[in-house]
Structures are given as structure tokens and as C-alpha cells.
Symmetry: C2
Subunit: 676 residues, 2 copies
């Protein structure tokens, strides 16, 4: 049984990866682009339809605002790209927004960005997977009623794959990403050609109408609604910042290559977003969501429960004369969305490791090579995303309401930090050409910061009650928790600091070492403990047993004498049949008699091979140990006895680390600790 | 916050009890009776109506079998009492059926009885609490729709009270038990008087009719049904054996006093059961349960959903001219049922402790004085009972189907064991008077074993498909688990035994002791670890650090030299940024170089005061320790550093023990281990 379980685990979780292989593998731009693009590009699968949903609240008439909203989103997208081109040139270490904010604005802003990013990673998984399932359901109708289950299964699959530590390769990212790009551009091209040829392209929902709770609004209310539609469309911007965490993965000159890749990514994302939105507009595709206050009605005025996703409608329309292409588009869309979710599985544990290195999270998350650090991160991410998917019934639209707050918080904070960065550099730079470049960069960052700040305000105002408050609350909780952890570590560090002038010499040494060996009967583990204890040549050595049964104690005494064990045996009475208290009392008594000495308590301990054996052994020993550690001047020594069953656990492997392509090992190692 | 939680816990769980107080307090018979009676007497609250339910399956006509069934139950009850009078005289140690079976029939039969008793304790809680709520609902109608919740709340209350370690006193048992007896006998007397005076007593359901799925059956099917009704009525016998576990609590002569108390208990239980059944019969009370195939119909032929419990109907009828008495009876019934459930809360952990002493359960359950041992038992019992209550929706009738299997298994096995006991004694006894007594006792036990065995077969045949299979399955699982645990402990003991001729002398001593101190930076805990390690005067001493960051390691090296620490520092490279593996490799290397030596690894360990601090500290150290223990020839020494926060946990009390009245401390201690 256990062997089978072991094999299953080995297959699912896999062997350690040699990190050395990853070191040399820096990415050429043509591979770097797809590695960092999936998150940003995948949002064309849901951003256009979010605009339609929100406009639909004011009824079909509001649909004619679509091009304007889309144009505004594209402007913001290009602004952010321009801004981040400055970031990646200035900060090539891969610390990303967290580093920019911490260095330029201080640790609290760094922590704000970190909280936002963590929330964001969770939402990336939830939104991408939900949208992926939604798109799959357009091709595979039986999924429509099983969206939550399908999404949870996908998250579980991603978890297993990432716990297993997939050997990421640039190719694994490149093929589906380029395939998705080709599909979407093919769609846009074919659609454009058919339109140019004069074909009338009518979406399946072209004849439908849309109505909502805000039909007939005007003035301020209409402007508010348009702003909300714009906020929703800004979902297209998520993932643009990913490259700033991955600069170390680029070939040299890293900064320039990263900036150029980012530009290419921005152009691609912008044109795909614009193209899909335009095709949806031209073909008259309708999309709405009752949870946001809009409804699609068919020709006879009945509500359409599950309209197909906009990208699927567009594909169906454009390829009405060639159905297989529709299935290709749908499959590619689902694939890129899953890939986007997977990037969060890489990014979240790395961020956790950086934060742990800076003591904002438990130390144990730091050591990169350690399986546990990453598994913890992966499992936490999957659990949170799974809960969100379940709570929001895998409905992309409702999840998107929570999404963009975090993104724009880090955009704004990071751009503000960059302005500070240039200010500082300008104070010390005299070379006029360098100054000119810096001033130009500062203008771009300042503009980016201003615009993204404005968008953040708009997003907060228009979406707060629609769910954004949940993301805000989560950020606050994370922020407070991480501050608390850091404060705790700082307090402990202060408590433990050794004054500079402390001499480490003989005067610090305890005078003598009193050893006691705890035992309840004479068997191999206790004899081993006795002889090990004797090997440490303590000043005094006693064997201690707690008498819970007078007869047993007497028997032990007899055996002790018969065997002639050359260590005195002391029997502690325990009228209450406790183990812990008499031992504690005795140790305290030893300490009181000679406070400058140290007491070493030897405890024989069983080493077992099955989890359930822990329930059967060592429990009293562990409890006793836990209590003894509270006594100052006491050391507790475990003398292990390996039971036969423990053999099976001996040679277990212990390490691997995902996320190596995006953030190579050696490089990340050096720069994890942000200097403050 | 933590302080408040602590206070709440202190209030709910309470302080340790001094066991010494309990020692002297042996029970006079008038107090012993109520202490052991609640379980047996409380079954009159449900046993009579179980007979009616089953008879009702054959329709109202079958009700005239009631007196015959009741008479059969009374005969069995008195037979069992007569048999157990022999048990308590012969076995005064309080080991009960487990001891009788183990000593006379071997450990497998002892374990069978133990499994049966454990299942029984769980069912005692589930049945008694459910029936208690049912009776309360007769007086407080708003409970009728909230039975499950009310029952679970009662179980939770009992759990808290028992975790708190109620200071049991004979009086606490005596008052409600005597009050219940007085109420029931008052009821019987008053009913008898009114009937004698010619008053016609008609139960509220007297005009109703009963029908069932088996109306019109005859021949073998009818006999089967009557046997099933009889099986159900045998629920009246549960708890009769309780005294056999409590003999040590009696004054001397313990055996005789216990036997006489048992006789009194048997007479009381028999007359109360007979009296209530008779009154129900005479007043024409109807009761049925659709889950068992019978239904009560009112005058207009509509099904009555929740007929009042039989004892409540009887009380209502008899006291129709004096309503307060009805409420008293109902309250007393509920109270005695809760008291009966409480006895299981005392008995279960004690049984667990006895089984642990005999190595059928984890050792940790053994030490009586330890809070954890008893809390574990109490929580397990409450959880199992709660699950049963939830699964069976607190319906007494459905739970009773599972109940009596366990009781009759232990009756039968125990009586068979007693026959063996007498056979053995007769083989060595020559005194004719003593032999006469023994032969008489053997006849009684043989008859008891035969009868209870027959009843067991009847119960199994008639109830197996009605739920008894669940109890059987649970017993088998427990049996197999306990055998497995015992086998494990036996194997380990064999593995560890020291051959008789092993000399404990210098030749067993390791040649030298290599000490290494693990550290990552220089602070107080590591300096303490260093000086303690030096105090043990090892043959060699090195400080070891794992370099996950070359810069940090270099800095540590510099500080080390600056401070002039008189211990060599060795830096282990870790290209994978792991901690565990390099240390393990190094220790293995030391061992390989000198296999006859022992390696002591000193690990500085933080002692913290809050549970969440464990997440922030020591995780790497603990993991490392866990791995080191698998290496032979290695000791791991924790050098604790008490953080300020640990102060709050220093003086926590740790012990108490419930169940002391039924099974006094000093006595039980001596006899827990059944000699085999």
C-alpha cells in the first residue's frame, strides 16, 4: 500500500530539478515574448465583453459608445507600456514593482505593492480559469452546467502539475502563445477581408437586443456608467507588468531587450484587443450579465441565459463558412487562459520567497531550493483561487470586478516610485545627454503615474460596491499581517542581538554539565541513550525513571542491579501518575542547587516510518521535551532509535523549484534581498 | 485576546483535581446504588415503547402480546442480574467483562468484549441524549422540530463539563437518581390507586389505532416479529453490567456489597420497566415509528407524526388531575437520561486507559493523571456520538436498533468466561462447601450465558438489517485496529529487547564524541548553543553554517573572526539553497570517517509563547532534526532560547481525571494491567 502511495506521489510530484541547467538558458526576445505574454494577451478573451456587459446596463443604445471606450483602454494600455519601458531599463534585477516601490517610496509602499500583487495572482488564477471554462463551454456545451466543477478541476490540475515542478521551457510557452496570436490575427484578417469583400457579417446574437436596469439614464449617471465600462475594459491591462519581474531572464543588454519586448507585447495586446472589440461591434455581437444589471433578449423578448463569449461569437461569425477554425480559436483561447493562470503559479511562490527574504513572511518560505517553500505557496494560491471560484460560481464577470484594483494599485505606486527615482538620479547627474534621457523618462513615468492613478480612482469609485471592496479588504489584511510578521522578526532580532563588546571567552561557559537520562525500562534504545550520554563525559550522570506503578519501578531497580549498569538510577515518585511534572520538578531542583551549571536531559526517541506510528510512540517524550525547553539552562538531547520501519523513509529526495524560466535561479538568488 | 481565551479555557476546563481526596471516599451502598443505576434505570424511558413500535408493525391486534414480551424481558433481566452477582463476587478489581474474558478465554475474547463495550459507550450517549431530548420535547413542544440541534448541544455540554473534570460526588448522582425513582414509583403507585378506585385511565392516544406494513402476518413471520419486539425490549438491560467495573469503589466486603447493590438495582429496574409497560398497556397508549414499519393513526385515520413518548403519555394520563406532576416526571426522565449519557463519558476514557495499559491502544492514553489522555477519550466519544445523532437525526428508535448487540456480546462472552472460571477453581478446590457454592454459581453463569447467547442470536437475526450491522462492523474495525496496535507494540518490544547476556560495560561506549553546532548568524541563541556545546567537552567541536548566499556567508566569516570565537567555523556550500541536505551529507561524511564515534548536532531552538510563532520560527530546524534522527550514531541536542513571549506559558497546570467516583484512583492503578 505505502509503496503504491509512494510511487503515485513520485509520479505526480516528481524528482528534483538541477538548477544548474537553468542558469545558462537566458531568453532570446522571440522566446521571451511568449514567456511573458500569456497573461497580458489572454485578457482579450474577457476584456471586450466586459465593456459590452456594462454598456448594456443602459440598454442597446449605449453600445455605440463601444469604440470610444475601447480607444480609451488602448490609450491607457500604451501609456502603461511606455511607463514600464522605463522601469525595466532602470531596474534590471527582477524585483519588479515591489523593488521600485520599496527603494524609492519606502517599505510600506513596497508592502502595499506586494499585497496588491498577491491578491492579483489569486485573481489571475480565478479569472483566467473561469474564462477558460466559459470559452470551452462555447465549443463543448455539456460544460455549461458544470462550470464550477470544471474550473476547480483545472485549478487542481495546475496545482498538481506545479507541485510536480514542470520543467519549464521557453518552447512550452512559445508554441501555444504564438498559436493563439496567429489564430486571433488570422481571425481579424479573415474578418477584415470578408468585410472588405462586402460580405455582411452578422453575429448569432446580432438580431437580439440588450436591456438593463439603467435604460434611459443620462447626464451624470450615464457618465458614471461609461466610466464603469471603461474600468471593466481595463482588465485588458492585467499582466503587462509581468516583464518587470523577469528582466534577469533576458539576454544582454537586458534592460533594452526587455523594453523592446514589452513594446512588442503592448502593440500586440492593443491590436488584438482593438481588433476583437471592433469585430464584435461590427458584427453586432451582444453580451450581458444579469449580475451586473444587463440582460440579452432574443427576438421574441425572452432572456438568453448563457450567451456565448464575445470572442467565440466573433469567431463563429467570421468563420461561418469554415467551422473548424471556430474550434481552433476556442481551443487556443482556453489554452492561453490556462497558461495565464499557470504564470500565477510560478509568480506567487517567487514573490513569497522574496517577501520571506525581507522577513515579511515566515522564513521557511525563503529557501528557494526547498520543496516545502514552493509547495506551500502553490497550495495557498490554489486554495484561495478555488474558494473564489466556488464563491463566485466561476462567473468571470463577477470575478473581474475584484480584479483590476490590485493591478492599478501597483501601476500607480510603481510609477510614482519611478518619478522619485529619476528625481534622485537627476540630483547627482551632470552629463546633459544623460539628464535629457532622464527628464524624458520622468515625464513618461509621471504621466503614467497620473493616468493610472486616475484610473485607479475611477475603478475604486465605479466598482467598489460591485466587489472591488473584497480585493481591497484582502490587501489590507495581507498588509497588516506582513507588517506584523516583520515587526515580530525585528523584535526578536533586537532581543537576540549580542552587544558589540561581548567577549566570547571562557567566562561564558557553564561550570559543569549535569546529564540525566530518562527511561522507563531497559531495552536497546535506553542502553544506547545511556552509553551516548556517557560518551559526552558529563560532570554527573544519572538515570531517571518516573514511578507510576510501584511494582514496575521495583522490577526496573532489580534488573538495573542485576545487569550492573554503571550509572545510578533515581526513581521519581508520581502519585498522580504523571510523567512530565516530576521530571520538571527534578530538573528545576538541579538548577536551583547549581545555577551556573547546565543540565542535559537525554531522551530516547523512536524514529518511525509511518505517520500512524507517531500516534503510538514518543508522545510522552515530545510533551516532556516541549515543557523542558521552557526551563533556562537546560538542553534536551534526542537519542534516536531507528525502528526497522524507518528504513523506508531514509533516502527521500527533497528539492525542486518551479518558475525558473521567468526568474532564473542564480540571478534571482543575488537580488532577492531588496536593500533598504 | 490570548488572555481572554486563556481565561475562558480556565473557566470551561478548570484546574487540576487532587486525586488524594478521592482515595478515601469509598461508597456506602445507598450511594453506590444511584452512582451505578442511572444507565440501567434510564432505559425505562425507551424500552417499553420500543416493544410497542415493533408490535405495531403487525397492527393494533398485536398489542395484546405486550405483557408476554415484557415478562420475557424481565426474566432475562433477572437472569443477567443473577449472573453478574457471581461476576462481582469473583472479580473485585473492577476489570469487569474485559478482565473476565481476558483471564478465562484469552486476549482475543477480551478484545472482543472491549470492542463491544466501546461501541456501547458511544451508543449509550447517542441513545440516552436522543431519548432525553424526545422526552423534553413532550413538555417543551418547540424542541420537537429542533431535536438534532438540541441533542448535539447536550452532547457538547457534556463534553465541556467532562473536559472540565467535574468533581464527581456520590451526592451528585444520588439526588437525581433517587428523584427519578421516587417519581416513577409515585407514578406507578398513583396510577395503581386510581385504577383500584375504578377510575378509567385513558391515554391521549387511547382512541387512536396503529397499523403497520406487517398487518395480517401469522405463523413464522409473526414469531419473527415477536422475537424482534423482544429484542427491542431488551434495551432495558443496558447498563446492568456497569457495577462490575466499579467494585473497587464499594466498601468492604466489596464483592458482597456490590452483589447486593446489583440485586437491588435489578429489582428496581425490573419493577419500573414492568410498571411502565403495564400502565401503558392498561391506559391504551399507542406509539409507533414509520422507520420501523408502524404508524399511529388518529380517530380520523390521519397519521400522527410525533406521538409523545410512552412514559410521558402514561404520566399525562395518570396525573390528568394534577398536571405539575407530569412536568416533574418528564424533567426527571430527561435528567436521568443525561446522567446515563454522562456515565459513558466517565467509562470510555477509563476503558481506554485500561486498553492502553495492555497496549491495545496508544500508550499515551495510559497515564491516568494526564489531562490529554482523558481529553482525547472524551473528545473521541463525543465526536462519534455526535455523528451518530446527526446521521440518525436523533431518532431514538433507529439508534436503539444498533444498541443492544454490543451489550449482549459482552454479556455472553463474560458469562462463558465465568463458567471457565468456576471450572478452573473446581479443579483445585476440595472444600465441599466452597465447591457447592461454586457449582451453584457455575449453574447460574451457564444459564446466564446460554440465555444471553440465545438473545444475542435473536437480536442479530431480527435486527441485523435494521442497523445492528453498523454496530457489528464498528466492533470488527475496533477489534482489528486494537490487534494491530498490540502486534505493533509487541514487534517493537521484540526488536528492542536486550539479550540477557549483554554486558553493559565500557565496550559499548562510543569512542569519541564529535559535536557540531548549526547556526546561520551570530546572536544570543547561537552563542548560548556554542558555550553549552563547549561545556559538554566534546572530542571535536565545529560550528557549521550553510551558505545559501555567498555574501552573507562571507559576512558571517568576518564577524566570526572579529569576535574571536574560539571554535572553528565551517561553511557548507549549498548551490540549491537547501539547508537540510548539505548538513545531512556532512554528518554522513563524519560518520563514515569514524564509524565508532558518535556525532552530536546542537541546534539552537526558539521557545515561543503563541501558537502562530511556531509558523515563524524553528521550521527549518525541526525539518532538519527530523531528517538527522534517521542517521544512526547521531544525537540531536536542542539548545533552547526562551523568547520573552514564552514567559506566559511557563506555569501552566496539566492534570485532572474524571470518573474517580466510579473507579477510584489508587485501586484502579494497581489493577489496570490484566495479567495474562
Amino acid at each position: 500500500m505505502a509503496k503504491v502511495a509512494d510511487m503515485v506521489k513520485r509520479v505526480l510530484v516528481g524528482r528534483a530539478l538541477r538548477s544548474a541547467q537553468a542558469h545558462e538558458q537566458l531568453l532570446p526576445k522571440r522566446i521571451a515574448l511568449p514567456v511573458f505574454a500569456s497573461d497580458a494577451l489572454s485578457s482579450v478573451a474577457y476584456a471586450p465583453q466586459e465593456i459590452l456587459i456594462t454598456l448594456g446596463v443602459a440598454g442597446l443604445a449605449a453600445y455605440h459608445f463601444t469604440p470610444w471606450i475601447a480607444a480609451a483602454v488602448v490609450v491607457i494600455l500604451l501609456t502603461v507600456v511606455a511607463s514600464y519601458r522605463q522601469n525595466v531599463r532602470a531596474y534590471t534585477s527582477g524585483g519588479g514593482d515591489f523593488e521600485v516601490a520599496t527603494v524609492n517610496l519606502g517599505s510600506n509602499w513596497g508592502l502595499t505593492v506586494a499585497s496588491a500583487l498577491m491578491v492579483d495572482y489569486v485573481l489571475t488564477v480565478a479569472v483566467s480559469v473561469s474564462s477558460g471554462v466559459e470559452n470551452l463551454a462555447a465549443a463543448l456545451p455539456f460544460l455549461a452546467d458544470r462550470k464550477v466543477a470544471a474550473a476547480l478541476v483545472l485549478v487542481a490540475l495546475l496545482t498538481v502539475v506545479n507541485l510536480r515542478g514542470i520543467r519549464e521551457s521557453g518552447l512550452a510557452f512559445a508554441i501555444p502563445t504564438y498559436a493563439f496570436m496567429i489564430s486571433v490575427f488570422g481571425l481579424m484578417l479573415w474578418g477584415g477581408l470578408r468585410l472588405a469583400a462586402g460580405t455582411e457579417l452578422r453575429a448569432p446574437t446580432a438580431g437580439y437586443t440588450v436591456t438593463g436596469e439603467g435604460v434611459g439614464i443620462e447626464g451624470f449617471a450615464l457618465i458614471f456608467l461609461l466610466l464603469r465600462a471603461f474600468s471593466s475594459g481595463c482588465a485588458a491591462l492585467t499582466g503587462v507588468e509581468a516583464i518587470s519581474n523577469g528582466v534577469p531572464a533576458f539576454r544582454k543588454p537586458k534592460g533594452k531587450n526587455a523594453a523592446n519586448t514589452l513594446l512588442a507585447l503592448g502593440m500586440l495586446a492593443a491590436s488584438m484587443f482593438a481588433g476583437i472589440t471592433a469585430l464584435a461591434y461590427v458584427t453586432g455581437a451582444k453580451f450581458a450579465d444579469p449580475s451586473q444589471g444587463s440582460v440579452v433578449l432574443d427576438e421574441s423578448g425572452r432572456q438568453v441565459e448563457h450567451p456565448a463569449p464575445v470572442i467565440a461569437q466573433v469567431a463563429q461569425t467570421v468563420f461561418s463558412n469554415f467551422t473548424p477554425a471556430f474550434y481552433v480559436i476556442t481551443a487556443m483561447t482556453a489554452l492561453i487562459l490556462v497558461l495565464a493562470a499557470n504564470t500565477a503559479f510560478n509568480g506567487f511562490p517567487v514573490l513569497g520567497s522574496v517577501l520571506a527574504q525581507n522577513r515579511y513572511l515566515p522564513r521557511q518560505l525563503h529557501t528557494r531550493g526547498d520543496r516545502l517553500a514552493f509547495s506551500n505557496g502553490i497550495v495557498i494560491l490554489a486554495t484561495m483561487a478555488g474558494l473564489l471560484i466556488y464563491a463566485f460560481q466561476a462567473e468571470t464577470t463577477r470575478l473581474v470586478q475584484l480584479y483590476i484594483v490590485g493591478v492599478f494599485v501597483s501601476f500607480t505606486v510603481s510609477q510614482t516610485g519611478m518619478v522619485r527615482h529619476w528625481n534622485r538620479l537627476l540630483r547627482t547627474t551632470t552629463d546633459p545627454r544623460a539628464r535629457g534621457r532622464m527628464v524624458r523618462a520622468r515625464v513618461i513615468n509621471a504621466f503614467g503615474g497620473l493616468i493610472t492613478g486616475l484610473v485607479l480612482v475611477v475603478v475604486l469609485i465605479t466598482k467598489f460596491t460591485h466587489g472591488a471592496w473584497i480585493a481591497c479588504a484582502a490587501m489590507v489584511v495581507l498588509f497588516v499581517m506582513m507588517r506584523g510578521i516583520r515587526r515580530h522578526y525585528d523584535n526578536v532580532a533586537t532581543e537576540l542581538v549580542v552587544p558589540e563588546d561581548t567577549e566570547v571567552d571562557e567566562s561564558m561557559l557553564p561550570a559543569r554539565n549535569h546529564a540525566i537520562v530518562l527511561l522507563s525500562k531497559i531495552h536497546k534504545p535506553t542502553l544506547r541513550a545511556l552509553s551516548y550520554a556517557r560518551a559526552t563525559r558529563p560532570s554527573t550522570l544519572e538515570a531517571i525513571t518516573v514511578s507510576v506503578d510501584a511494582e514496575e519501578a521495583a522490577q526496573l531497580q532489580r534488573q538495573w542491579e542485576e545487569r550492573g549498569i554503571p550509572v545510578p538510577l533515581k526513581i521519581l515518585d508520581s502519585p498522580y501518575r504523571e510523567i512530565t511534572r516530576p521530571v520538571l520538578e527534578y530538573v528545576k531542583h538541579l538548577r536551583r542547587r547549581s545555577p551556573r551549571d547546565v543540565v542535559t536531559v537525554f531522551i530516547p526517541e523512536y524514529v518511525v516510518g509511518h505517520w500512524w506510528e507517531h500516534l503510538l510512540h514518543n508522545q510522552s517524550a515530545l510533551r516532556l521535551k516541549g515543557r523542558l525547553l521552557f526551563q533556562p539552562g537546560v538542553m534536551v538531547t534526542s537519542v534516536p532509535w531507528q525502528l526497522h520501519s524507518s528504513d523506508r523513509l531514509k533516502g527521500r529526495p527533497e528539492s525542486f523549484a518551479p518558475g525558473m524560466v521567468r526568474r532564473p535561479y542564480a540571478e534571482a538568488g543575488k537580488d532577492d534581498q531588496v536593500k533598504m
